[in-house]
């Protein structure tokens, strides 16, 4: 096997320059899915009639189908919806101006929403009921109690799972080349195809992904330690 190391060295910075696009997908998908996930978790925990059944079916549906299918479905029906929205709002843009990255973001946020809502739901359930009552007893309103007392504790409990979700999301972005978004994997596929060196191209992005996700995991671990300080009500923080 004669691996062309020059090619790898040459390709590495080239692929690395497409890192912002991957990160952009991750960032937007998180921005979309985090609030929606929190709302879905709340609906599930509070057992709001009607809505909670819909949310449960949605969660089951998304968990029961592969990501690749979500991406294709969004890519197929997305343009119709966007065109309709544009028409009703009287935008002058056409669907063809919409970047493909939008479909990748939507498809990835479907899955991420579900995992985040499940994580937060477990976090909310792990917070003791007494905390909420304590909040009311000192005169906080319902919203204040939730935002200041219950939610921060739930977030700390859910943090490790959310970290896993982010890692899964980054891994998922590699599929967005299927809707012709040129991110890391897409770029490697193009260059590998041009020079007929698929193996080297994929070897390069293999390393890029290891560096990227390894860094993200280290950051998450550090944050986990930081947030974990408040886990026991601060009583162990001093020791």
């Amino acid at each position: 096997m004669n691996i062309d190391f020059d090619f790898i060295v040459r390709l590495f910075p080239d692929v690395f320059s497409y890192l912002p696009i991957t990160l952009k997908i991750v960032l937007y998908a998180l921005l979309v899915s985090f609030p929606v996930g929190v709302i879905m978790a709340l609906i599930n925990v509070k057992k709001i009639k009607g809505l909670s059944q819909i949310v449960r079916v949605y969660i089951s549906l998304i968990r029961g189908t592969p990501l690749i299918l979500h991406i294709y479905v969004i890519y197929t029906i997305g343009p119709f919806f966007i065109e309709k929205v544009f028409k009703t709002l009287h935008f002058k843009k056409s669907v063809y101006d919409v970047d493909n990255i939008v479909y990748a973001i939507i498809a990835l946020s479907l899955t991420t929403t579900v995992s985040i809502s499940e994580a937060i739901r477990a976090g909310l359930l792990s917070v003791d009921k007494g905390q909420e009552e304590a909040g009311y007893s000192v005169g906080l309103s319902k919203l204040q109690t939730f935002l200041r007392i219950v939610f921060p504790q739930a977030l700390v409990a859910a943090f490790p799972v959310i970290g896993n979700t982010i890692v899964e999301l980054i891994k998922g972005t590699s599929l967005s080349f299927l809707v012709s978004v040129t991110e890391i994997t897409g770029r490697a596929k193009i260059v590998g195809g041009v020079e007929l060196r698929y193996f080297e191209a994929y070897l390069t992005i293999f390393f890029v992904y290891i560096i990227l996700i390894g860094t993200v995991e280290l950051i998450i671990k550090a944050l986990e330690k930081r947030t974990g300080r408040y886990r026991y009500g601060g009583q162990y923080a001093k020791s």
Binding site: M1, T65, I68, L69, T185, F199, Y202, L203, F206, G214
Partner: protein, 214 residues
């Protein structure tokens, strides 16, 4: 799909051994973290394009004509080897050491103790995770269409391109209703196994036990 599943079992055994040896632990943890850090599609492409070349150049084995399923099996074995080793390690640690010693003390050999005492208990702890893993695998299996394997998704894609992609949406909906029920069935089945494996006490046993404690 079944072939893939079969290869998981091989990986489980290999990795289970691996995590017990302390010398290999460092190597194993590097392997686990690397597979955690790679998207499955990248590994799939790497195996698909790299393996034939490596095998041909270093061993002179020509596997160009081989079925694509082979590559899919290898990729997912690499992946699931990592996750199943973690599951098995967790389950092994969850079973208390006293169980092993108790087995030895009544005269069972080490192997017998493992098979009859430790393994059933390990299974109970590992079942939910194994279920998750199989479902995850089942969904990731859809990726193998990207290297040209005609599985459910590949076949559907082939059929829809015969019709010039006119019915692609209905094809995707049909696929949803293939994947969704199967996942639900798998979830239920593993839930049932888990319930079966949990030791249940009858009412009499429970009262005597409570009486002893009181």
């Amino acid at each position: 799909m079944q072939r893939v599943l079969r290869s998981i079992i091989g990986a489980i055994v290999a990795k289970g051994k691996m995590s017990k040896h302390k010398l290999l632990r460092a190597l194993a943890s590097i392997y686990v973290s690397i597979t955690r850090c790679t998207p499955s599609i990248v590994l799939l492409f790497l195996v698909f394009y790299g393996l034939p070349a490596v095998l041909y150049d270093s061993f002179g084995i020509d596997i160009n004509g081989i079925d694509t399923v082979f590559f899919v099996c290898i990729t997912f074995s690499i992946f699931l080897g990592a996750s199943s080793s973690e599951i098995i390690r967790g389950a092994y640690e969850a079973v208390s050491k006293g169980q092993f010693e108790a087995g030895l003390s009544v005269g069972l050999s080490e192997f017998q103790t493992f098979i009859r005492i430790i393994l059933p208990q390990m299974l109970k702890f590992a079942m939910p995770n194994i279920g998750n893993m199989v479902i995850f695998m089942f969904k990731e299996g859809a990726l193998c269409y990207t290297i040209g394997l005609r599985d459910v998704l590949g076949e559907a894609y082939f059929l829809s391109s015969k019709e010039f992609n006119a019915y692609s949406l209905s094809m995707y909906i049909a696929l949803t209703f293939i994947y969704w029920p199967i996942t639900i069935i798998l979830e239920r089945a593993f839930g049932y196994f888990e319930w079966k494996l949990t030791p249940k006490l009858s009412n009499e046993e429970l009262t005597t036990k409570l009486g002893e404690e009181a």
